[in-house]
Structure formats: C-alpha cells, structure tokens
C-alpha cells in the first residue's frame, strides 16, 4: 500500500506512456515529465502567492485577500485573469524584440533548473552526474534576462535596477556555491540523487542523518538560505526592486502578462533555491524521524518547501530593507569568510569520521562548532562596529 502510494507518479507516467504507440514513447516520456513539472509548479506558484498575501496580512495585522472564494483561495485565479486582460504597454523607445524576449529568458532557465531536482523517491526528471552544476548554470543564465529587461526598457530607473540586481546576484553567487560545496565534499558527488542518498539512515535509530544536524551542515544551510534570499531579490535584499527609490527597478516598464512572467520567474527561482537547500541539507524527500516513513516521499519534500516559504514570508514581514553598502559588506566580509571556514570544517569532519566510533563524537562536535561559532561572533561584531558614517552627502541633488 505504502509502496504504491509512494511511487504513484512514476507508475502513472509509465501507464500513460504505455498507452501510446511504440514510436512515440521515447519522446512522450520526457514531455510528460516536463508537463507534470510545469503543472505542479503553476499550482505551487498560485498557492504561494495566496499564502504570502495571507501571511503578510497576518503579520501586518490585517486580513489579506478574503473576497474571492473561501478564505480568498481563488484570488490567484482572479489575479491571473486580471494580468491576462491588462493592456501590454511597451515604451515607444524601447527595444521591442529584447523587451519581449526578456521575460521568456527569465522563466525558461528557472524551469530548466527543476529538471535535476529529486522531488521524491525515484521522482526526478533527469539525474545528471553533474546535477548541482546544472542547477547553478541554469540559475546564472537569469542574470542576462534581468539585464535584457533593464536595458531594453529605455528607462534610467530600470537600467539602474538591473545593474543593482546583477551586481547583487554575482556577489551572492560566491557564498551560495561555496556553502553548497560542503555537502558535495562530504558525499563525494555532484548528483542531487546521490546527495539525498548520502543522508539516508538514522542517528540512534530515530533521528535522520541529515546534513543540517552537523556543525558544518547547520552553518552551510543558514549561509545558503541567506545567499539564496539575496539571489532571489527578496526582502530584506530587495534593493533592485526598491519600490520607494527606483520604482520596481528592471520591472518598471513591464505590465500585464510579461510582468506576471517575471513574477513567476522570481517565485520559481525562490522555490528552486529552497528545494536545493532541502536537497543538500534537509535530507531531500527523506522523513525526519524513523517512525514517519509511511508518509509518501514527495509529500515530505513539499512540506519542507512550504516550511522554507513560510520562513521567507516571515523574513519579508519582519526585516527592513538593507542599504547597498550593507548588502555588499554582508556578502564579502561576512558570508564569504564564513563559507570558506565552513569548507575547512567540513574537511575536518570528513577527516575525523573515525572519531565517532572511538567515542570522540562529542569532541568532534565541539571542535567543529567552536571553529564556526568564534569566527561568527568576531565577524559579526566587526560587521556592525565599522566606522560610523556621518549624514549622507548628496552631490547632485542639493
């Protein structure tokens, strides 16, 4: 019974492919995988916008959407219809071709990144040997899309926003990749399926062997989430869109469905980063406790995904936006050194793998934890006690 429920998507796909004539089956299999992915992600996107608006409403002491459907659940549908029927405005001086292509260049690489994500047991569209590299490669292609949007709009705000966004994405890609590398070092593989398999088994027969339950894993997870927040241009790192300063940055000249596509791309990018964090550190689709193995694996994955989403919404509702200099200082003076130290701790963890059997497990924990906690405290203090800046001087505005 459990086996059947767990493998339901795979058996369903095999049955559907089996219905087709022999010649079409080789083409139908990947097409079906892609269609299922896009469909599931569209539902997830709609649900996420609703959760975000409801959650932000709760944090700001108001109701949020509650008019369309029960609890406002049909609000995403209404939003989608509104976006489709809106006029598609293109500035007269805009570069029409590039302006049209930018939203597509944003969404397509993000969708591609999901191809290597293991959503459940055996539930992965393409298990590449260098899957992690594929993921980061697909993610890096969106920088060009942001530039295309900003440049083709022929608007100084959009160009400024695009430049900010690209600078931010490039800066935060370094800690993002470095913190992901720790998990690769310990499991010795770039394949996401193997990375999940490396987290199989249970500590003491009940607690899962997730990477997040080790010093380097915890630090890596937190570093990864921070860098991913900045990479996805989300609050508190949403300077590129800064509504109050540069009126939504590279999105300023987009309306209607093109704007919705950008919105979709950003949300899917956030889900993809959360999914990768789950795969690398939170055990992927594996259950947290040995007794909970009867829940289908893909449900675990999506449960964890919604947990990450709730965290991001909480952060957005709580933290104010950072300044540009704070943003860059955080990336280069705090996250990058910590990520490098974390690599060292991960190497130490690998070398001291034999200690656990001798009974030095606790010592291993303490050494690893201290190696991370002390630099954390020192770097954090240095970050906030820098030279105080006087009142801001405006060179051109006075």
């Amino acid at each position: 019974m459990f086996e059947a429920l767990d493998q339901l998507p795979i058996t369903l796909k095999a049955w559907l492919v089996g219905l087709l004539p022999e010649a079409w089956q080789a083409v139908a299999s990947p097409v079906l995988s892609a269609a299922a992915l896009v469909g599931a992600l569209a539902v997830l996107f709609a649900l996420a916008t609703w959760i975000e608006r409801k959650g932000l409403g709760r944090l700001q002491n108001r109701y949020g959407p509650n008019r369309v459907g029960p609890f406002g659940l049909l609000q995403p549908l209404a939003d989608g219809l509104k976006m489709l029927t809106k006029e598609d405005l293109v500035p007269r001086n805009a570069d029409r071709v590039v302006h049209f292509l930018a939203p597509l260049a944003m969404v397509v690489p993000v969708l591609l990144a999901y191809a290597v994500m293991p959503f459940g047991r055996n539930l992965v569209a393409a298990d590449f040997d260098a899957g992690l590299l594929f993921f980061f490669a697909a993610g890096s292609a969106t920088e060009l899309a942001v530039f295309m949007a900003g440049w083709s709009s022929r608007n100084k705000y959009s160009l400024l926003g695009a430049m900010r966004a690209i600078a931010q994405m490039i800066s935060y890609e370094v800690p993002l990749v470095l913190s992901a590398l720790t998990a690769v070092m310990l499991s010795g593989s770039l394949s996401l399926v193997t990375l999940v398999d490396h987290q199989a088994g249970y500590h003491g027969g009940w607690l899962a062997r997730w990477h997040v339950f080790t010093p380097w894993g915890l630090a890596g997870f937190l570093l990864f989430l921070t860098a991913a927040t900045a990479e996805a241009n989300r609050s508190p790192f949403d300077l590129p869109e800064g509504e109050s300063e540069i009126i939504a940055g590279h999105l300023v000249e987009y309306s209607g469905f093109k704007y919705a596509l950008f919105f979709l791309g950003e949300y899917l990018g956030l889900f993809a980063a959360s999914g990768l964090a789950i795969t690398l550190f939170l055990g992927g689709w594996r259950a947290p406790l040995a007794g909970l193995n009867w829940v289908p694996s893909y449900l675990w994955f999506f449960l964890k995904l919604f947990g990450c989403l709730a965290l991001f919404i909480w952060l957005r509702g709580t933290l104010p936006r950072v300044r540009t200099d704070q943003l860059m200082n955080l990336a280069w003076k705090f996250l990058l050194p910590l990520a490098l130290i974390n690599l060292f701790v991960a190497a130490l963890w690998h070398l001291t793998a034999g200690w656990a059997s001798v009974g030095g497990g606790l010592a291993r924990w303490l050494v690893g934890g201290a190696l991370l906690a002390i630099p954390y405290a020192v770097l954090g203090r240095a970050l906030f006690s820098g030279p105080r800046r006087g009142p801001r001087v405006y060179r051109y505005a006075d």
Binding site: V98, F128, D129, A130, L133, F134, F136, A137, A138, S140, A141, E143, L144, F147, M148, W151, M163, I166, I170, E173, G188, S189, L190
Partner: protein
Amino acid sequence: MRAAFFILAVVTLIGAVGAIALRRLIHCALSAALAFAGLAGIYLMLGAEFVSFAQVLVYLGAVAVLIVFAILLTPPAAETRAQPFCKPCLLGLGVAVLVFGVVWSSVLASSVVWRPAATAVPASSAKLIGRALMTDAVLPLEVLGLLLTAALIGAVVLAWREKEGSD
C-alpha cells in the same frame, strides 16, 4: 537526435552571425550569448555534461554579463551605427582564414581525431575531471589561479586609486 542537432546548430549559427552582423553592440553581445547557449546544448548532446554546464556557467553567466557591462561602462561613442563590414575587410578575412587554418591543422595533428569514438560515457565524468585537475593538470591549474588572483588584485588597486582621486 539528428533533429536536435540541427536545431542546436541553427541556433548557434544564428547567434554567431548576429554577433558580427547586428548594428547595436548590445544586440551583438546578446546574440553571442545565444551562440554560447547553443554550443552548450551541442556539448550536452555529445555526452560532455560537465563541459556543457561549465560553458553555461562561465560564458552565459559571467562572460556575457562582463561584455555587456563593458559596453555600458565605456563612453556612448562606442555604440556606433557604422557599417558592420568595415573597410579593411580583406585584412579581416585574411586573419580569419589564418586562424581557421591553424585550428584546423592542430585539430588534425592531435591524437584525439584518430582515436575511435568512445562508445560509452564514463559513469562519473565530473569525478574523473576533478581527479585529473588535481594530479596531471595541477601545474596549469595553479598557474591559472595565480594569473586570476593577480588580475583580481590589479582590479582592486585600479578601483582604489580612482576613488582616492575623486574624493
């Protein structure tokens, strides 16, 4: 498979031709990025996963963005509307033929061409590449690292001086 190759080849060729024939420099840079992406697809089709992903990561994610930034940060005079095929076209043609000849002859001279094509892709090519980088090719790797570090420090020094001058 054949259809996929033809689609990728056409995309790559369109990107490459656009990169030299289009008038606006930004358009040229973007079509060059398209050519990079097409090449990555061809690598992937040939079973060279690692090379393909590295191609996207480096060329699409970094080199294309670098080119675009360089175009934007140079004075607008660089964005000319001059004829794409400039006067000394014979010179350019000569250089192109010469470069092609050198590449052609060196490809033919290398042992790779005469080796029978590998029938199966190794199970873990990323691991093999990593091992080779750390053993056989460790000297070139270190030299490259040194070069890049020197360039990085040089860039920091240049940026630093400019700031001191302006304030």
